[in-house]
């Protein structure tokens, strides 16, 4: 199955192996025809309207502003509804450095995002600490704090790179198992078992 987004030809994508691995997992496990079709329908909707959380700490955030403005215009892809509250957002674009003091705040924001949630590490600071590798007050990459779905390298990445990164995320969403998979409601019981209320 060739997974693509926004009409871009399949050969033009990078990291196709990763997506193919996801597709294979999906096919191996097998699924009910009705649930599978519903999954496809819902994922089609989800992947075309991923809403970001307005979250920016430094330079990369300004490129994110450019992305929202007329020239790069992310509204073309259905991402323009930047939400100020994590409760209403689908994914978090970590645009900028995360430092020691920010880590608990950042983690809380991530926890507040509603499932299914995604994280994009944008720029070299968020990926590995970047130019601040030797600093005493910078978290060396956000992967230690939250799980990351897509990495966008650059310092800061160009808006085109950001568009490509979010499109990769939308490809990933397309091949996810929704019912019984990433849909949080199915996990409620397990969650309560793992986090008992006194």
């Amino acid at each position: 199955m060739e997974v693509t987004a926004q009409g871009m030809p399949y050969e033009a994508w990078k990291d196709n192996e990763y997506i193919e691995k996801l597709v294979k997992e999906l096919q191996d496990n097998g699924t009910n025809v009705i649930v599978g079709s519903l999954d496809k329908l819902i994922n089609w909707g989800r992947s075309n309207s991923i809403w970001p959380l307005t979250f920016a700490t430094s330079c990369c955030g300004i490129e994110f502003v450019s992305l929202g403005a007329a020239r790069y215009d992310m509204a073309r892809f259905g991402w323009e509804v930047a939400r100020a509250s994590p409760r209403q957002a689908d994914f978090m674009m970590v645009a900028g450095t995360i430092v020691h003091r920010m880590v608990p705040v950042f983690r809380r924001l991530y926890d507040q995002l509603a499932e299914p949630k995604y994280v994009i590490a944008c720029g070299s600071c968020a990926i590995s600490g970047g130019p601040f590798k030797k600093s005493y007050h910078v978290a060396m990459g956000i992967e230690d704090i939250v799980p990351v779905d897509v990495f966008i390298p650059g310092c800061p990445p160009r808006p085109e790179a950001m568009i490509y990164g979010i499109m990769q995320l939308s490809r990933k969403i397309k091949v996810e198992k929704f019912f019984g998979g990433v849909n949080r409601q199915e996990k409620q019981e397990e969650f309560l078992k793992a986090h008992p209320i006194d």
Binding site: R71, T97, V99, R101, V105
Partner: protein
């Protein structure tokens, strides 16, 4: 013009003098407060503007501070060195927080980095680091083992108390606990994740109904320790951090550090490089003010303006991208000139830009400035008087909106600014509208500077030959430039090696954010967004 040295030595015979780019006076800590009072209040001296406080660790020679002061009346400069008393565990210096309002924040910064305790400072807390942070990072013997201060996802400890150290009659210094807010204050957190704080800034706001009583500014959510990293790098390597402080003023900030290093190393740069640098500075000023107008209007609810202003900004970024190869972090100015020559289309592109700027500004004014909603929200909101602007060291367009002519390009011209014709934009109202209008006017003036230079870029080399390894002689230098948001200063101290011994960055946004407490007092909470937006601080520049 009075001879400052003679006058000071008459009043304070114990003071010693050292010549340099700025004269340095050394006084003992016991006399420091009286000396500072004289410097500020004496008619002939009147050093009323505290530019920065540089904390220093001279290893076995002890800890100390260097204060940079400027007289706005006489346009004279002085620096004062004060050594801390006591041992390394508890070094003390007397506070000057009662003389300059901004000193409270500056002294907290020095305490955070060096552990120097300021006697009588009413708020002796850490500024950027957690309460429980171990060690003082800018000390030379700081242990940066990540296991001592690990990354934690647990919430940091919060407190409503602060310390004040006071000297008792017998000379003993004791710690006293003070409340930050009154006991029954209702405190609301604004930030660090809030779209209108322009980054990760946090205001702890005490409110009485809708009225703001006090704001406690909580910084450090993007403190990256640039000053400490620079101490381990060579001079050319330190340059690229200037891009990442105030990313809109990347060119002016680079310019400042390059000037400091070039002066120290005795490098003369070519006329062509000077012109290119000034052109880039002014282009980035226009781009920066464009984004300010866009985001500020968006904060006030006029989203359309963002699309209008980013149109010009994108055009400028295209010009820069062609020459520098990047959209934001240019790393273009280098020691000896600039990295690469101008793109062949540069002159043509800039002419195209100059053609559209007047039309665009007319459009901004038509859409927003004269709008009755904008007027109601901005006029007489957040008034900052000239005296307060100086006391709080609020420079740049914010200071000029309050009637303080503080443009470094005019009062201490650097590079080729003295030969250029442009007006310093000063307004006297001091409200949010004035700060907004100053920026719009400044775009016109920057375009005027560019128009003068663009057809007269001299031929020549864009970068002179400099040694591969740059070593500076032993000494110290302080340089200031007019960044897009105000006076940006760099203090450089060298011990003769290829790395800086101390590189202190004096950002304009720290005072601009500190003054929020002062000008929002008694205003409505909705106006906090207007006031904060009009001050246009960039959080990574505050925190460094």
């Amino acid at each position: 013009m009075v001879n400052i040295q003679e006058k000071i030595s008459k009043l304070f015979p114990e003071a010693t003098f050292e010549a340099g780019d700025v004269m340095r006076v050394t006084v003992p800590d016991a006399q420091w407060h009286d000396f500072a009072k004289t410097l500020r209040d004496d008619e002939e001296l009147s050093f009323d503007f505290l530019v920065t406080i540089v904390g220093m660790d001279w290893k076995e020679n002890g800890l100390g501070c260097i204060y940079y002061l400027t007289s706005t009346k006489h346009n004279t400069h002085i620096s004062v060195k004060v050594m801390a008393t006591g041992d390394r565990q508890q070094p003390f210096i007397h506070s000057i927080a009662d003389l300059w309002a901004i000193a409270v924040i500056f002294e907290r910064e020095v305490y955070d980095f060096f552990g120097i305790i300021f006697i009588n400072n009413p708020d002796m807390r850490r500024l950027f680091l957690n309460i429980d942070w171990k060690g003082f990072p800018l000390r030379k013997d700081y242990n940066d083992d990540p296991n001592i201060n690990p990354v934690s996802i647990e919430n940091e400890r919060q407190t409503d108390f602060t310390d004040m150290w006071v000297e008792e009659a017998d000379g003993k210094v004791v710690k006293k606990e003070r409340r930050i807010f009154a006991e029954d204050d209702f405190v609301v957190n604004i930030g660090p994740q809030h779209p209108a704080t322009h980054g990760v800034l946090r205001f702890r706001t005490a409110v009485d109904g809708e009225i703001i009583k006090k704001i406690d500014i909580y910084l450090g959510y993007i403190h990256r320790g640039v000053e400490k990293i620079c101490e381990g790098l060579t001079y050319p390597q330190t340059l690229h951090f200037m891009d990442r402080l105030d990313y809109f003023s990347a060119h002016p900030y680079h310019h400042c550090l390059c000037m400091a290093i070039e002066e120290a190393a005795g490098i003369q740069i070519s006329r062509r490089a000077q012109v290119i640098r000034v052109l880039m500075d002014e282009l980035s000023r226009i781009a920066s003010h464009c984004l300010f107008i866009g985001t500020y209007c968006m904060d006030l609810g006029a989203t359309t303006m963002l699309f209008y202003t980013l149109r010009v900004r994108e055009q400028i970024l295209d010009i820069m991208e062609r020459t520098c190869g990047a959209r934001m972090t240019f790393n273009y100015d280098c020691i000896g000139g600039v990295m690469q020559d101008l793109h062949p289309d540069f002159v043509k592109d800039v002419h195209a830009l100059l053609d559209v700027i007047p039309k665009n500004i007319a459009e901004y004014n038509k859409v927003f400035t004269g709008n009755v909603i904008a007027k109601n929200r901005m006029e007489n909101v957040g008034v900052l008087t000239r005296e307060d602007a100086i006391s709080w060291a609020v420079t740049g367009p914010n200071g000029r909106g309050s009637g303080w002519a503080c443009d470094v390009r005019k009062c201490n011209p650097y590079s080729i600014y003295s030969e250029l014709e442009f007006d310093e934009v000063v307004r006297t109202e001091g409200d949010s509208m004035a700060r907004f209008k100053v920026r719009v006017e400044e775009m016109v003036q920057s375009a005027r500077i560019i128009a003068q230079l663009i057809d007269n870029i001299p031929e020549g080399e864009y970068c002179v030959k400099v040694p591969k390894v740059i070593k500076l002689p032993v000494g110290h230098w302080f340089k200031t430039v007019e960044g897009c948001r105000g006076t940006f200063g760099v203090y450089l101290e060298s011990d003769g090696t290829a790395n800086p011994y101390r590189l202190k960055i004096a950002p304009p946004c720290l005072p601009a954010s500190a003054v929020v407490d002062h000008i929002t007092e008694g205003q409505k909470i909705a106006d906090l967004i207007t006031i904060g937006g009009s001050l246009d601080y960039i959080v990574p520049d505050i925190d460094r």
